[in-house]
Symmetry: C2
Subunit: 365 residues, 2 copies
């Protein structure tokens, strides 16, 4: 098996920063989705995602995929890092077209290019473990496998995809690698519990490593229509027609995820179960759990007077907040909107956003 | 006994609008205390206080006492009502000096003047009953008594003064009038319970009716130092020195309430127990009880999306508030400060204001 060092110069980062999540409203907005916010620490999630790749991949080989409307935000946030390789999607068509477009770009730069696909909006607590996992995944991918990073499930989530491990293929960089038996999209509660109990499943992290040529071969085999569209775009890369061709072709691209479109029926998929402190920050409650609380269990950002208040998150950078007698609440105060919700109900923030959309309150989305 | 009609032309209103309450922070502020806010309905509390006097007393015989810094606010709020008789205190010295100053003004206008002293920051639900009570009180006061309006206690409050009723003096306008046995300032809880149980006590409403000459005689007898100061001011009324004399004399005036300073030891005090739906709006919880709630028990002013939220007051005129899973909360969102507190803890708002003062946050007081 090739070592990481032997293929280091062919490794490309591909950061997917196209998400438009609504679960951290009112901080996350259409104009500034989660990946562009400094939710934990002084750097934005995109900046963190970029930073933790760099010991392995220099900035000039890191591509960032985002929606056209967020290109300048990406450039602003990564300018100090020297990153300029932003792939702008005319609009979001899911992860399959986004990754296909990225794979073309990597192959154009290096026919042997290995593509490390990571998300910009997930938190990783143990960065050294993450980097070790990527080295291992690159080594496995170099031999022609599609590699997915699997997360150890900690509860019977019905919100994630699951990966069933099959035969153990060996050990790389001290990490076991398994053949993937099966991908399963978001299961029902009973199935989720069974998966958790069996010990044979990982959560699908949405992070993948593969040769650009390998994944493009899977696109050709499994998604021929999309592949043809990608080829048409590829032919125009670097020409003066690049923008207009992308625009025209993209309008006909069908929405699809990489999981449904490719992974579920791909050949030679391997999973690398990793322990990296992964968290997708799917709610204010989850985010609160990642932040340092004071001795009353409160997480306070901004100016606050708290009386008899416990286990409460207060985010109010611009205005004083006074609280009396609160327990287990989330308070998020932005310039034009205020959220107050019980911690355990914070996944319902999405319903607020839906209600605002239904009311035509585009200014608040 | 004289009728109201027979002395109508000698009746003067005296609205005390000098309060600087902190209990409805962050809506009430030093710059705009409670009496200047539209807490219930479209008019401010001062406007309501002025309006409910007018069927009995024309605007030109209504005087308003307030702090110097609030004179323009009073004029603005009452300009449509034609009220211009604002007595400006250089600073707040309690109700005794304020009422003394008012009594001088009334006596200067009419030696037989009867002075109806009312508060600007209390709510009165039953205005016709209030007006009937005032008519009765004027008739009693015309015969030389100091009349106080007594409120029927509904719980053993330790925050109000109590008035023990003595001998029944008779009935006026269908209302019983009693000799006052004793004024008692804020009692301890056991005493408050005993007062409530006895059925012989009224709360002190802070509303009084008397001849200016009668109350000034009591000032002369019981507070001779203050009376001398008032006389000095009186001598300058209408001269070009009025302002400077008031300023100089006022600096030496001791703080005192009319209850401690006069009423507790006054002769010939009568109490008129009234049922007028009186409420001093001593907390957000109390205010909420006076407002119309929707079918979920919520009182919402402004723009809100409420999911699974009950029994909650939301005041946010300028920004959207989204709530999820709240029960029994007070949410008050102003331009520069936000209060979130449990209903039952809303009397602790005062502590927030104290904390802000201790922090030197004058901008938020």
């Amino acid at each position: 098996m090739p070592t990481f060092e032997s293929c280091r110069r062919s490794v490309y980062g591909f950061i997917m920063a196209g998400g438009v999540g609504t679960r951290l409203w009112p901080r996350s907005r259409k104009a500034t989705p989660k990946q562009f916010l400094d939710l934990i620490g002084p750097r934005t999630m995109l900046q963190e995602a970029h930073r933790r790749l760099q010991p392995l991949i220099p900035a000039e080989r890191i591509l960032i995929s985002t929606g056209r409307e967020h290109v300048s935000l990406v450039r602003d946030q990564l300018s100090a890092a020297g990153a300029e390789k932003v792939l702008a999607e005319p609009d979001g068509r899911g992860t399959a077209p986004a990754i296909g477009l990225g794979a073309l770009q990597v192959r154009a730069r290096d026919p042997d290019g290995i593509m490390v696909v990571v998300t910009a909006d997930h938190y990783i607590a143990d960065v050294p473990a993450f980097q070790r996992a990527l080295r291992a995944a690159v080594e496995v991918a170099a031999s022609g496998r599609l590699v997915t990073l699997g997360i150890e499930p900690t509860f019977p989530s019905t919100g994630y995809g699951y990966i069933q491990r099959g035969e153990r293929l060996g050990s790389v960089e001290g990490l076991d690698v398994y053949h993937v038996e099966r991908f399963t999209e978001k299961p029902d509660p009973a199935a989720a519990q069974a998966f958790l109990d069996s010990g044979a499943y990982s959560w699908n992290s949405g992070m993948f490593v593969w040769r650009a040529s390998t994944i493009l071969a899977e696109f050709e085999r499994q998604m021929p229509a999309l592949y043809a569209q990608l080829r048409e775009i590829e032919a125009a890369l670097g020409t003066e027609d690049e923008g207009t061709v992308l625009e025209r072709v993209w309008a006909g691209v069908a929405k699809e995820t990489i999981d449904y479109g490719i992974m579920e029926h791909a050949a030679g998929v391997a999973v690398l179960p990793v322990q990296i402190g992964w968290n997708d920050i799917g709610s204010w409650q989850t985010l609160m759990g990642l932040l340092d609380a004071d001795e009353e269990g409160n997480v306070v950002t901004g100016d606050a007077v708290t009386l008899d208040t416990h286990d409460t998150l207060i985010y109010s950078p611009d205005r004083l907040v006074a609280t009396i007698g609160l327990e287990g609440l989330i308070v998020v105060d932005t310039g034009d909107a205020l959220l107050i919700c019980r911690k355990e109900a914070s996944q319902r923030v999405r319903e607020v956003v839906d209600a605002l959309r239904a009311q035509g309150r585009e200014d608040l989305l």
